[in-house]
Symmetry: C2
């Protein structure tokens, strides 16, 4: 197509054989060529499957969310498992879509004590201290990156929001360094978090949102993140924006009904999903190529990439 | 609303009087309190007004774009002025919407030489060297920022993509420092650029896109930016994503028709627009508050903000 802006995805729809390996593969080509061993399965029990009411034309709208692993946000994630098992969200709605910010879902009557849906018994009240945790495993990514073609990628150096940014078990993680060690998940596009009231409230997990714009990193460590959308985010990001303050829909008719939210282990027809191990050499090469685009479209590699501009590749894979 | 994620916009819909000034005003409160002199008018001749076909329910869809000032991208902007004056885009369409990336519009038949709409005479062929320019005025923002409450804001330090990031005449600008001075506009959310083919093609300006996701900064200095959407981006960002490669719509029926694109000076019913002077003390305070959220919702200020997380405030204002 004439004059089309051409990101590199187009140039590598399929993995390449050695015989047609370009000198500077695009990030998508590196991902396509990654060996099977570099892809790790995501357990169905770590997925949350949200089925929205179908579109007007009958097209299904399924959003698949991967929950964060230990040690992050486990109090809220425990609540979310309880809410899903209780089928608590069924019949509730997407109530808010704010451009370049978030889409949010939960109980439209949540502010009306007389009408609000009763929460299940036994939900945890999670303290603010749980916004951070320690894996004991986050390291400056320099070493891993510097093994590849002698290039040092700048994003390991940290940024305006964290002394170190890194990837750990498939997730973008920030750290404040070694003196007062704390680590936290990062508000990149598609990450899912827990709506809350004013501090010290931390939210229960009944009200959730996902990022549909530029990474709102100022929310890091101020709100609990619990996962990320790995499939179907377009069913949230392309919804009409709400006309009320903060993008809240002004009428019930504008809200998008939630048919059901289930743990993946309760969903019969769910495909298997895999993510590219962020500890693999394939990922190091992919991240390096995201930071230094030398493929044909580009004339000037950036020399770096911010952590949210290196999305972790996820694909449907064979059942694990 | 119970459990609602509360960004600060809600807390300051109107400017505050001195009697109810909070200790730590939210960014939106600082903007609301900015004196009239800090708001600068945008000339109608620097606006591009795109009217899409109305929604199914008859609702109008107008997108207002502000064009970059000299010295940036003037070759492409000259072409765009010619194309608008010739009414060249009328009846063409939004042809591509790729999630977390771009929405793009132009000639759906552009790749078919027999059907492609003929371009106006006299369009410039702009060299790649024009992806950067020099204002002679970009300075490290440290001095301006450090005057406010003794706080130094980290984003002036540069980032993974630029040695210095700054704001200049209302625009986010990158610079590679003093040795080989070059400056360039930055691919933040809502910025508008020129689709192109492979290098050395630079595009004419007939094919345009806007960013609808996390800032794709790797495109900086690789594609011409010509402006930004200042109103109505939701008419592009909330469109259904295209199912084809790169989000291209697979059928003509999915494309969104363009009724007209005009220079603002040709549009009778256009309101006046203003932006908050990025050289004003109000903007310095606003940027500092974006980087250090101390208002009630936040428990931990970030200590910095990336240049694309400090959107330049734009409002409708009195006719200038």
């Amino acid at each position: 197509m004439r004059n089309l802006l051409i990101p590199l995805a187009l140039l590598a729809a399929a993995p390449l054989g050695a015989e047609d390996k370009p000198e500077f593969p695009a990030p998508s080509q590196i991902v396509g060529a990654a060996p099977a061993a570099d892809w790790l399965g995501i357990a169905a029990s770590d997925l949350l499957v949200m089925d929205l009411a179908p579109e007007a034309n009958g097209k299904a709208r399924r959003v698949v969310i991967q929950l964060l692993p230990r040690p992050f946000s486990q109090g809220w994630i425990g609540n979310i498992r309880k809410l899903a098992t209780a089928h608590w969200w069924d019949g509730l709605a997407v109530t808010r879509v704010q451009d370049n910010y978030v889409a949010q879902w939960g109980d439209p009557d949540g502010e009306d004590a007389a009408k609000a849906r009763k929460l299940p018994e036994g939900l945890a009240v999670v303290p603010e201290s749980e916004y951070t945790a320690q894996t004991g495993e986050i390291v400056d990514f320099t070493n891993g990156m510097s093994e590849y073609q002698g290039e040092i990628v700048a994003w390991h150096k940290g940024d305006d929001y964290a002394d170190v940014t890194a990837f750990w078990k498939g997730w973008p993680i920030g750290s404040n360094g070694l003196n007062f060690p704390a680590e936290w998940p990062i508000h990149c596009y598609g990450m899912v978090g827990v709506g809350r009231n004013m501090s010290p409230d931390t939210g229960s997990g009944a009200e959730l949102y996902t990022v549909i714009g530029h990474a709102p990193r100022h929310l890091d460590r101020n709100i609990a993140l619990v996962g990320r959308v790995i499939e179907g985010i377009e069913h949230l990001s392309s919804l009409p924006r709400g006309a009320g303050p903060l993008g809240v829909y002004e009428s019930r008719g504008e809200q998008v009904p939630i048919r059901s939210i289930r743990l993946g282990s309760e969903v019969a027809d769910l495909p298997a999903y895999q993510y590219l191990s962020t500890e693999s050499q394939s990922f190091a090469k992919y991240a390096e190529a995201r930071a230094n685009r030398r493929d044909a479209f580009f004339i000037r590699p950036a020399g770096g990439a911010d952590v949210c501009n290196i999305p972790v590749p996820v694909r449907r894979g064979p059942a694990s």
